[in-house]
Symmetry: C2
Subunit: 404 residues, 2 copies
């Protein structure tokens, strides 16, 4: 009899957001008269900006004529999009990243899940705790994480870097040397950001210790403070130790459009082998490119009109974030995040567990959030709300929470 | 120092089609005045059908308004598309496949590359020889294939099933029991098809031996003969031994649009574990859905107008296939395929190797094809041409080949 990948069976329960969806569906079925406000999963609600819609229509028209039809995309993605990203996301900030160091993909979830494949099977990973579940789960599937302890909800071979009130949600350098360090700033789920000086310490550490940093910059568009880096390549030496993941989901509302990128500098080498060549091989063998029309939509994000419209959209969500943050604070909650992030991280009241507070909020206020413990053991006792609702719903949710 | 996945380094050279692209680019640079006709890579050239264009525009308009905007897609894909596939591709043929056994993806290349992940690391794979390179290469990356012998161009732990003139390009049941059997009919690259009775033998074998069949049905739309199955689920017992991969690339010209699906019957179990649950977990953890607009385009393929237009498009390519087949035959070439496939498989003349004939054809006729040896050792001495050019180019290429 053929055998399955037994590592899959080690995963405790299903993916966090699938669990939440099931719980909400059950509640809705039992209470069809209640109107639920969803501030749980980080899904956007604003329509695509006009410049993007226009680019999509125009690209669809191109696909309707043989002369302008586009079949398979180039392996790394279309040059027009890679160049726009290199110029706007990197060179404009003084970062030395070229178009051919950017790999276009269908989103940061796929990239953050797949990137572990190019590393050795015994690699030791370090993650912030709490953390986006994909980093750990995909390493569990690859058999890298050892055994699971259901009491502590931790894996024996993962280095956890707690992010709590005590360290202002910024992880400390690990005591044990990891091979791969996953960092995400502005952070999901805590909303915390680190300064360029603080991030520089991680780059220096990785270069010194021979670690590689997987830097998830999915939320960089929400940064409002000046000393917070938009990319790890604003740090000196990052070209020899860091891979960066970029997403259009939160930057331009592309959660249902699907576009992302992985940036691998050609200076990033393990011995003589560039990680760029390994990822290129993976892209060429297991992937067939993001749709042409979607890549054209991505390029429109960097057009003059696109930039203005995207900035307005982000400002809309930033206002929501501030509204939730201030509202909860004035209601007596202990809150963080929000300033450079679409996420608001709050301490559950009355020592409720995260899931207790999830049920409490769902039942008493009909508001859906995300239990902090779903992101790791140090998330227990915390809860994540997102700024991606409509302003009206955000205000309404806040009123309901205040009136519990 | 962190370690890389050493298996990647075992891969000999880069992906076949990247190699061809480089060779053609070099020739074009050296001979800018020559007009090249590409019948190599299986990329379509006809524009998207009007019903699909209309569906795309309409879906783009939905994304422009908050009321009809779509964010993250459901884990398995939108129900409207899964139902359309279940009805049209399966139930209409009397096959018992339901919508919730269909996982929508961004294409069969990704699915055929990723599917091996849910199986044990020591699984033994069997492949047709010649074969689409992705099946073997992705298992090399996962460390399943043993050592490479550069002389025979084979891997020690892969079971090769030769498909040659001797067996009419239909593989025989393997002597050694494999865990995973990759089958693709109509075949890429040979264009050969098997009858339902012949495929039934494979299903019976897999059920008896405890093997699982990965059935790549990417070219089913090109079947013209009645006794050729469009899906493996037309065979009795396939629900307990087979996974099927579907593609919209060749069926509806979606090579640049990106849409596919994996079908895993819930009866397919290894002990108590359904492979459906494993793939669902992979989808939920490492993938974030095909774009909403692309899934709407996929549904349009099954609309009344869509079906008519797609049939015309396929007939166009089928005419090309017949034209190449008959033309080469009358020019004295030994050819097969074409009848149920967009691929024409020819024996190289004068005992040339596949790559020698590639260079010969490129230089003498400025026609690009694909060397058979790129698909496996038994492909040596063969060459693949595709029907996906325009009719005019197909005729022109044929004239050039005849006049060499």
């Amino acid at each position: 009899m053929y055998k399955i990948n037994e590592n899959y069976l080690k995963l405790p329960g299903s993916y966090l957001f699938s669990n939440i969806a099931k719980k909400v569906a059950a509640y809705t079925a039992a209470n069809p008269d209640k109107s639920i406000i969803r501030l749980g999963i980080g899904d956007v609600t604003q329509p695509l900006a006009p410049a993007i819609i226009e680019a999509l229509h125009s690209a669809v028209d191109e696909m309707a004529h043989a002369e302008t039809f586009h079949g398979y995309a180039p392996d790394l993605g279309y040059e027009f999009l890679r160049s726009a990203m290199a110029e706007n996301d990197y060179q404009a900030l003084g970062c030395d990243i070229s178009a051919d160091e950017i790999f276009i993909s269908d989103g940061a979830k796929c990239d953050s899940g797949n990137i572990q494949e190019i590393f050795g099977p015994d690699s030791k990973i370090a993650v912030c705790d709490p953390v986006y579940p994909v980093y750990v789960d995909t390493n569990v599937m690859a058999g890298r994480t050892g055994t699971y302890n259901p009491d502590t909800e931790t894996w024996s071979d993962v280095i956890y870097m707690p992010c709590t009130e005590a360290n202002n949600f910024a992880p400390e350098l690990p005591k044990e040397r990891p091979d791969i360090i996953y960092l995400c700033f502005p952070n999901n789920p805590t909303g915390a950001a680190v300064t360029t000086d603080e991030l520089q310490k991680w780059v220096d550490y990785a270069n010194k210790e021979g670690s590689v940093i997987i830097y998830d910059a999915a939320y960089e568009a929400y940064i409002t403070e000046e000393n917070i880096p938009h990319t790890i390549f604003q740090c000196e030496g990052a070209r020899t130790c860091a891979i960066e993941l970029r997403s259009f989901s939160k930057k331009a509302g592309f959660t249902g459009v699907r576009l992302g990128a992985t940036v691998i500098p050609k200076d990033l080498k393990c011995g003589e082998v560039t990680l760029h060549s390994l990822w290129a091989r993976r892209h060429g063998t297991k992937y067939n490119g993001a749709p042409y029309i979607v890549q054209k939509a991505g390029a429109a994000v960097y057009s003059e009109a696109g930039k203005v419209q995207i900035a307005e959209q982000i400002a809309y969500y930033q206002k929501n974030a501030r509204t939730i943050f201030e509202g909860l604070k004035s209601a007596g909650y202990s809150v963080s995040g929000a300033v450079n992030s679409p996420y608001i991280w709050l301490k559950t009241p009355d020592k409720m567990t995260s899931w207790e507070f999830f049920d409490f909020l769902l039942e008493k206020a009909n508001v859906v959030g995300t239990p902090g413990s779903g992101f790791g053991p140090s998330g227990e006792g915390y809860f994540r709300l997102t700024a991606f609702g409509t302003y009206e719903n955000t205000i309404a949710a806040l009123e309901r929470i205040k009136n519990i």
